[in-house]
């Protein structure tokens, strides 16, 4: 252990750093403790952000400071007693007390959190969720549930924007997609909404079943399946089984499934409607134009021809947009309303969001954290024309035992998109991605960056007119 690492543990800032770590891991004991145990230098923890001084954070920091102060005082009192009484045991106890205070309190802080969760938060949540079951059951609106390992928030927003052109719509907020958030959403409704859009954020086996029983959806969109939350699900099949409970809840009626996700194919049944870049159900896609500033295509059935334009980029968006248009049509929206609604769809922050810096296009996909998104992104990079192509990533997190295989595949996908320069962040997976690149005879340049924050905040120096840069995923402090 280096001197700097030791001093960072005994620094006056240490309680604030611990509070930051708790806040960044959303006050969850396990990820917090994992982070705590692997950290050696606490002076480098607050790299990307600083502690947001909420009342909860302030309370925890005060608890830590008070506990640490009391332990130090107790240690000093024992030492003084040892001097007065000329006995050794006070010293034997006092010195370890003084030395151990950061270690003791950074662990003890978990106890009030867990107690609070067991005694206060969870009973309240159970009560709220029970109430919401009644509210959802009584509500007469069409209820569209959006589930899947990725792309849920985007799909929810696409549905909200488009259907909102012709119907009164309410949707769950941002990526707040667990039972308690559904309950809060139910409480916020006025009962007059015509369509409700509810995002299902699966995290452990049985989640989707519980959400389905509570919210009682009438329609379902399953956006795809990829390795995620494997710490709980263990296998992608187990995750798929949970997610597809939603389809069986609806007995296969009004179920839209992303056919471009390879892993969902084993779960698809004949009465499901699959969507992909060729269309959805009876709706067929033609006249596709894809560019950095958006895409356009025609979607036609024997009843209607829709001319659709969106600011979303990438061929992989055609399927979701087709599904949205088909659902909107089923819900009675007119051609004009659907076209107008789709035209309003645009990239969400940090999700395939293009912006221009002095003639160079940067595609910000830093909220993308799964291999399916990597596939879509690298496909776009391959398809777009540029003077120079740059690909930037730190890799993916939470891939469990699949980590090596996924990152080798990432290397392959990146190599196939033929960038001139690949920039990786120096971390546990960069060498695996590099290996994947080499195995697929990547001929461009590879750069490994030691300081991601410095790199991202100076990206304008890396680019010139005519460049296209794709940035996929970004690691927060607790993964760095």
């Amino acid at each position: 252990m280096k001197l700097k690492e030791i001093t960072s543990t005994y620094s006056p800032r240490f309680p604030s750093v611990v509070a930051y770590m708790l806040q960044s891991t959303e006050y969850q004991s396990k990820p917090y403790l994992n982070w705590l145990w692997r950290t050696t230098d606490f002076s480098k923890v607050q790299n990307r952000r600083v502690l947001e001084r909420t009342s909860k954070a302030k309370l925890l920091e005060a608890f830590l400071r008070l506990g640490m102060a009391l332990e130090i005082i107790a240690g000093i009192v024992l030492l003084i007693l040892g001097i007065i009484t000329s006995t050794v045991w006070e010293w034997e106890l006092g010195i370890p007390l003084i030395i151990s205070y950061p270690f003791v309190w950074s662990h003890l802080v978990v106890i009030p959190l867990e107690l609070g969760r067991i005694l206060v938060v969870e009973p309240n949540e159970r009560k709220l969720v029970a109430q919401s079951t009644q509210l959802f059951a009584k509500h007469e609106a069409v209820k569209i549930a959006v589930a899947g390992s990725y792309g849920k928030t985007t799909m929810k927003e696409l549905l909200n924007t488009t259907i909102g052109e012709g119907r009164s719509v309410a949707a769950t907020v941002a990526n707040k997609n667990v039972a308690i958030e559904h309950a809060k959403f139910a409480k916020s409704l006025n009962g007059k909404e015509e369509v409700l859009i509810i995002e299902f954020g699966e995290g452990a086996p049985g989640d989707v079943e519980r959400f389905s029983q509570t919210t009682k959806p009438t329609h379902a969109v399953i956006t795809g399946l990829a390795p995620a939350h494997l710490d709980k699900y263990k296998t992608i099949e187990a995750a798929g089984k949970d997610i597809f409970y939603l389809a069986s809840f609806l007995k296969g009626n009004n179920v839209f499934v992303n056919g471009e996700s390879e892993a969902v194919r084993q779960f698809i049944k004949p009465n499901y409607l699959t969507y992909d870049s060729s269309g959805v159900g009876d709706w067929k896609v033609s006249g596709v134009k894809v560019g950095i500033e958006g895409l356009s295509f025609n979607l036609s059935s024997d009843k209607l021809m829709l001319n659709l334009k969106s600011s979303l980029i990438g061929r992989h968006q055609i399927g979701p947009l087709s599904a949205v248009a088909a659902i909107a049509f089923d819900l009675g929206l007119s051609k004009n309303q659907i076209e107008k609604g789709i035209a309003k769809t645009c990239p969400f922050e940090h999700r395939m969001q293009p912006y221009n810096i002095g003639g160079a296009w940067i595609i910000d996909d830093t909220y993308n954290g799964n291999i399916e998104g990597i596939k879509a992104g690298t496909q776009i990079l391959k398809e777009l024309k540029a003077k120079r192509k740059i690909y930037i990533t730190p890799g993916l997190v939470d891939q469990g035992q699949e980590t090596e295989r996924i990152h080798l595949e990432m290397g392959k996908l990146i190599a196939l998109s033929s960038p001139d320069l690949v920039i990786l962040m120096n971390n546990s997976v960069s060498s695996v991605i590099k290996k994947g690149l080499e195995q697929n005879t990547f001929k461009g340049e590879v750069q490994i960056v030691d300081d991601p924050l410095f790199f991202y905040s100076n990206i304008e120096h890396m680019v010139a007119k005519g460049d296209i840069v794709l940035m996929q995923n970004d690691w927060t402090d607790n993964y760095s």
Binding site: G358, G359, A360, K387, R388, Q447, I448, V449, D450, F454, F455, N458, E460, H461, M462, V463, A464, K465, G466, D467
Partner: protein, 385 residues
């Protein structure tokens, strides 16, 4: 394998001291570090001429906050060990350590740096360095000498005369007699200063004397030149050693009768008299909206000047165009364009990182070429003595 060490030297005793800080930190040090290929050492020369080196000197806020003097008070100046290469010697109490420098990136604008003084020292140190060498820096820094060289290479310039400041003080009549054949309006400039410092445009003799007084206050040599009529002013940044190539021909956004002084170039984002964004960028049309032939002629003239003067690495050639006759005149060369003219290179498809990488490579290429030259010659001269 350890990364090559690049020492970026900036600041210095120059009227363009502050411009140099911005060039060094924003346009050289940051991209060099982003490339991940070099270990970058800042070498700052303060306004008194003392040399310092510390990693904290890479932080622009140290200068913008005004805390640089307090910081330097606590630092010990460095010394250099030169001979077969160059080493920076740092002292901390009784401890001493040295950093071996592989490449020097000069970022000093104007006097005591860009004028060739620094290049002379680097030649003696036998270290690879970025940009123009000693002779081309000296020539380019002297506006009259650069024009004389250009004329000798058959490149047109506007009519001009030059004289020493002391001549103006001791023999005004002779100086005015020299200027008499020139047609007003005239430009009066100190020959060695850049960033448009102390430049005046005059329409008559009484204004002329005032303007010369101003120029002579800043420099020991003054140039007076005819203004080009129907003026289109363009500038061409160029990169390369023996095979130079232009970036884009750029047109500063000024009226024919106007010109850029220091404030409008650096303080008002190029918009004369208006509050605007900081920095020298954004005050020009890029690329210059010239007819194709005139655009190519400008590129060609700039390249001819670059070669005639013997520029290496990077330089920016300023040209004056008479839009009626389509005649292109050479005006002056800047061997270290402010902020490396990175905005222009970026528009031409060269990122800041690529630009500095290429400049470092050009420096190494030039040094390799020089090392192939024979520098000794055996004679029996000493035996005969």
């Amino acid at each position: 394998m350890s990364k090559p060490t690049v020492a970026v030297i900036f600041g210095s005793r120059s009227t363009e001291h502050d411009v140099s800080i911005v060039t060094a930190i924003a346009s050289i040090i940051r991209p060099l570090e982003l490339s991940g290929k070099y270990s970058v050492v800042p070498v700052y020369i303060d306004k008194k001429g003392q040399w310092f080196s510390d990693p904290k000197l890479k932080d622009i806020s140290l200068y913008t906050s005004g805390s640089i003097d307090t910081f330097l008070d606590k630092q010990k100046p460095i010394s250099l060990r030169i001979g077969v290469g160059m080493e920076i010697v740092l002292r901390n109490g009784l401890k001493q350590r040295s950093i071996k420098v592989d490449i020097v990136f000069p970022a000093t604008h104007g006097t005591h740096g860009e004028d060739g003084e620094l290049m002379g020292m680097l030649e003696m140190a036998n270290v690879a360095y970025v940009g123009c060498d000693l002779p081309s820096s000296v020539i380019s820094m002297d506006k009259s000498l650069a024009k004389i060289i250009a004329q000798a290479a058959g490149i047109p310039t506007s009519r001009f005369v030059w004289f020493y400041a002391r001549d103006f003080k001791t023999n005004l009549e002779l100086v005015l007699e020299m200027i008499k054949p020139l047609k007003y309006p005239l430009f009066v400039k100190p020959v060695h200063l850049g960033s448009s410092i102390a430049i005046s445009r005059v329409n008559n003799e009484s204004d002329l004397i005032n303007a010369i007084e101003v120029a002579a206050h800043y420099d020991d040599k003054v140039i007076v030149e005819e203004a080009v009529t129907n003026l289109i002013e363009v500038t061409v940044p160029i990169i390369g050693n023996d095979d130079p190539r232009p970036a884009l021909v750029e047109q500063p956004m000024v009226k024919g009768e106007d010109f850029f002084d220091f404030d409008s170039k650096y303080m008002h984002g190029g918009k004369k008299g208006k509050s605007a964004k900081r920095g020298a960028q954004g005050y020009s049309k890029l690329p210059a909206p010239l007819p194709k032939k005139l655009y190519e002629k400008s590129e060609q003239t700039a390249l001819e000047v670059y070669k005639a003067i013997g520029c290496k690495g990077i330089a920016r050639v300023d040209l004056l165009i008479d839009s009626k006759t389509n005649k292109v005149y050479f005006n002056e060369v800047n061997t270290l364009p402010g902020s490396l003219y990175a905005h222009n290179f970026r528009e031409a498809g060269i990122s800041n990182v690529k630009l500095v990488e290429e400049l470092v490579n050009l420096a190494l290429e030039r040094r390799t070429g020089k090392q192939k030259l024979t520098t000794s010659f055996s004679t029996s001269y000493l035996k005969q003595y």
